[in-house]
């Protein structure tokens, strides 16, 4: 039952990302709901579910997007890695950890995307990309990080009410 709920939530997130979030750009940057969800869930849970979310998000984005598949795999798994790292060190302030992980994950994803497109032979201007895409994307991700984390926390409490934080 828990797995079914998480699958449904994940599918809803993918649909929202493709149909809604990408249609609401700031300049030319868009938020990444899946990255924020993976970051928030990795900070909330201590089990393997965050890795499973990262894998599912990577596979779905690699399938849907025209970007090099290395980008989603590297960015989502690095987010979980960072979340695990900060979870053990600044566990008393999860919001700060969330902001750091979201910011760093978004930056890694944007820079990897830029590098992947450049390596594929397409010439894009770094300054234009920075101003028009990367910074707005970072801003949107930071803006949406808290609401997404709040939804994730409620769902986590619903699914795992007896999990005791150490």
């Amino acid at each position: 039952m828990y797995i079914l709920i998480q699958v449904v939530v994940f599918v809803v997130l993918v649909i929202l990302q493709l149909a809604v979030v990408t249609a609401i750009p700031l300049l030319h940057g868009t938020a990444d709901l899946l990255l924020l969800w993976v970051a928030g869930w990795a900070l909330l849970s201590r089990g393997r579910s965050a890795w499973v979310y990262a894998l599912a998000a990577s596979v779905s984005m690699a399938y849907v997007s025209a970007i090099n598949p290395i980008v989603p795999f590297a960015s989502y798994f690095s987010v979980v890695l960072m979340a695990r790292f900060f979870q053990n060190r600044i566990w008393q302030s999860p919001i700060m950890a969330l902001i750091i992980v979201s910011f760093a994950g978004s930056l890694i994803q944007s820079l990897l995307s830029f590098a992947a497109i450049t390596v594929s032979g397409v010439s894009i201007d770094l300054q234009v990309s920075l101003v028009q895409v990367i910074i707005p994307t970072l801003f949107l991700n930071l803006l949406l990080a808290l609401p997404v984390y709040a939804v994730g926390r409620d769902l986590h409490r619903l699914l795992y009410p007896f999990e005791v934080e150490i």
Partner: protein
């Protein structure tokens, strides 16, 4: 005797025309009293029945408000259907004007999650005869081409994508070049030599060279041509005819087979 006198008096007054006035004056106090009593009685009735009327009016008002809400939602739905119908009718008109091509209409159901890329996802795939490389248009002009296909969906690379390069020709200038996309979604002119005389408002059409797109599909309009010092080519922005931010339905040209010229491209020399 008395009755006879009264009857005679009435007859005299009636014949002389004064009966109405006399009767009127006699009845005026009665009418006044009747009016006074009726007004007070109605006030008393209103006093006792008003709360019940307010309650019924409130219920009626609520019912009417519900009906208004339902009608408003129906209006919104009808407007949406009308808008979709208009888009579909315009696509149908476009397809009828070009009977030499076969089209499949599809709805745009998503966009590429990467903000660096400009791709859309459509709701038709290989089950509907869509194949890799097929050109995608709207009633306004060129949209892009099919980049990946599944059974029920396909991904379309827009001409605004930074990896897109469309071979074009300028209608007035009569020269050929390329329309290349960018990360910001702007399209610019490339590969046009310095000798060409470019003018603003020149129409940009596909040239058909390279075999990626059919010839003579409208791409956009030229804006502010310029050439930088020591540059080999002129440059200009192209205003696309398609509004890519509001792309909702597209047509895929299914009877056009793109030509793969990769085997003809000379290998890179060391």
């Amino acid at each position: 005797m008395t009755i006879g006198l009264i009857v005679v008096g009435v007859l005299v007054l009636s014949l002389s025309g004064f009966l109405g006035e006399v009767v009127g004056r006699a009845l005026d106090p009665v009418v006044g009293a009747q009016s006074w009593i009726a007004t007070r009685f109605q006030a008393v009735v209103d006093f006792f029945t008003a709360p019940r009327d307010v309650a019924s009016l409130t219920a009626k008002n609520t019912q009417l408000e519900n009906e208004v809400s339902q009608l408003q939602s129906q209006i919104i739905q009808l407007k949406q259907q009308l808008s979709e119908s208009e888009v579909l009718y315009s696509l149908l008109d476009f397809a009828r004007e070009r009977p030499e091509n076969k089209y499949v209409a599809a709805s745009v159901i998503g966009r590429d999650p990467s903000p660096f890329l400009h791709y859309v996802i459509i709701d038709h795939g290989s089950d509907d005869g869509i194949q890799y490389g097929m050109p995608v248009v709207t009633q306004q002009g060129l949209v892009g081409r099919v980049d990946a296909v599944t059974a029920g969906a396909a991904r379309v690379q827009l001409i605004t994508d930074p990896g897109s390069a469309v071979n074009i020709r300028l209608e007035k200038a009569g020269v050929e070049g390329q329309a290349v996309g960018s990360v910001t979604g702007d399209i610019s002119l490339a590969m046009v030599g310095l000798s060409a005389e470019l003018s603003a408002d020149d129409l940009v059409l596909t040239s058909g060279l390279g075999g990626d797109y059919p010839a003579d599909i409208l791409v956009g309009q030229l804006l502010t041509p310029s050439h930088e010092l020591n540059s080999l080519f002129q440059s200009a922005a192209i205003q696309p005819v398609v509004d890519f931010s509001k792309l909702r339905a597209v047509l895929i040209i299914t009877n056009f087979t793109p030509v793969d010229i990769a085997p003809l491209t000379p290998a890179t020399t060391q």
